[in-house]
């Protein structure tokens, strides 16, 4: 009897330690998301530091979500137009991404280094979802994991209609930057 109990205990202990080693989820509730539009007429930029992003180190799954009304602009009128006219944030309060790191084997979350990553997934903005491929960087330094990505978004791809009157002021492609510092 004593023998079986200690064997069972050993198996349990072994499985607990191995699973906790592999099922590593990195979460950041203060992910920064900012976007930048540059035209000869005007530069527009906005940012928020309340986005959430998660990386599952064992599967490479990567997600982030951001609240549209949390974006802060320099000018009040721009913030209003952004929410009311372009993003319709009362109807679509969030933008999100769900995908995975396709070159997961190139990343070692336990070893300090800078790892370029390819991320594929679904980006949902203004209620419209599109398959995207973006490049990013995962950095491990002193055991802390951070991730960054810059990518471009075309407002028209997400049915965001810019009125002709202000067309000159808003770039056809908006640069989006996502930056996360993870607590393991």
């Amino acid at each position: 009897m004593k023998n079986t109990i200690s064997k069972v205990a050993l198996v349990l202990l072994f499985s607990i330690t191995t699973t906790s080693g592999f099922a590593q989820k990195y979460i950041d509730k203060t992910t920064e998301v900012s976007f930048f539009s540059s035209t000869p007429m005007e530069d527009i930029d906005a940012k928020t530091s309340s986005a959430v992003s998660i990386i599952d180190a064992s599967t490479g799954a990567m997600e982030f979500a951001v609240l549209i009304k949390a974006f802060q602009f320099e000018k009040e009128l721009m913030q209003e137009h952004f929410n009311e006219n372009y993003m319709e944030s009362e109807k679509f309060p969030k933008a999100s991404f769900k995908g995975k790191i396709t070159n997961l084997s190139d990343v070692n979350f336990k070893q300090d280094g800078t790892y370029p990553v390819d991320i594929a997934g679904t980006l949902t903005i203004h209620g419209i979802s599109k398959e995207v491929n973006v490049k990013g960087t995962v950095k491990v330094a002193g055991g802390k994991v951070t991730a960054n990505s810059d990518f471009r978004v075309k407002p028209q791809d997400y049915k965001i209609s810019i009125p002709k009157v202000v067309e000159e002021k808003i770039a056809e492609e908006i640069k989006v930057t996502v930056s996360a510092d993870y607590d393991a």
Binding site: I27, K29, T30, E32, K47, S49, S50, A51, V52, A65, V66, L67, I68, K69, A70, Q72, F73, E74, K75, E76, L77, M78, Q79, N83, S89, E90, P93, K94, S179, D181
Partner: protein
Amino acid sequence: MKARNYIFILLGLIVMIGLVGIYFYNKPASRVTKEKPLYEIKSEDLFSEYTTDEATANKKYLGKVIEVTGTLLNISSTDEQNQVTLMLKGVDETSGISCKVDLKSNPDVLKLKEGSEISIKGICTGMLMDVVLVNCSVQNS
């Protein structure tokens, strides 16, 4: 009156309208809300409303100024220079109401003690893992 006077008055009005337009166009976005809150609610109740039915909670609170009272779990700095995040208790220590506070408008915020009951007024922007309020200010009860 002579026609010339009418023209001067009209020009004056146009200039005034133009100036008002320029004022609003360039008006900087505020980092703290001065409006009166539409709702006053406990942090646990707000969190519970959002976790029960997010769509209904958004219909009620999204974009609105609300005042939330609850236990301060922690104060953390963000990468943004003049901003801190105050976390009010939702259900447990892991998540709750996340309040973004501008330091310039709220210089005393760093004196707040973790574990104390505080009231925060801000604009509700919805929920991700926490309910997020921006343009917050600490209210004296």
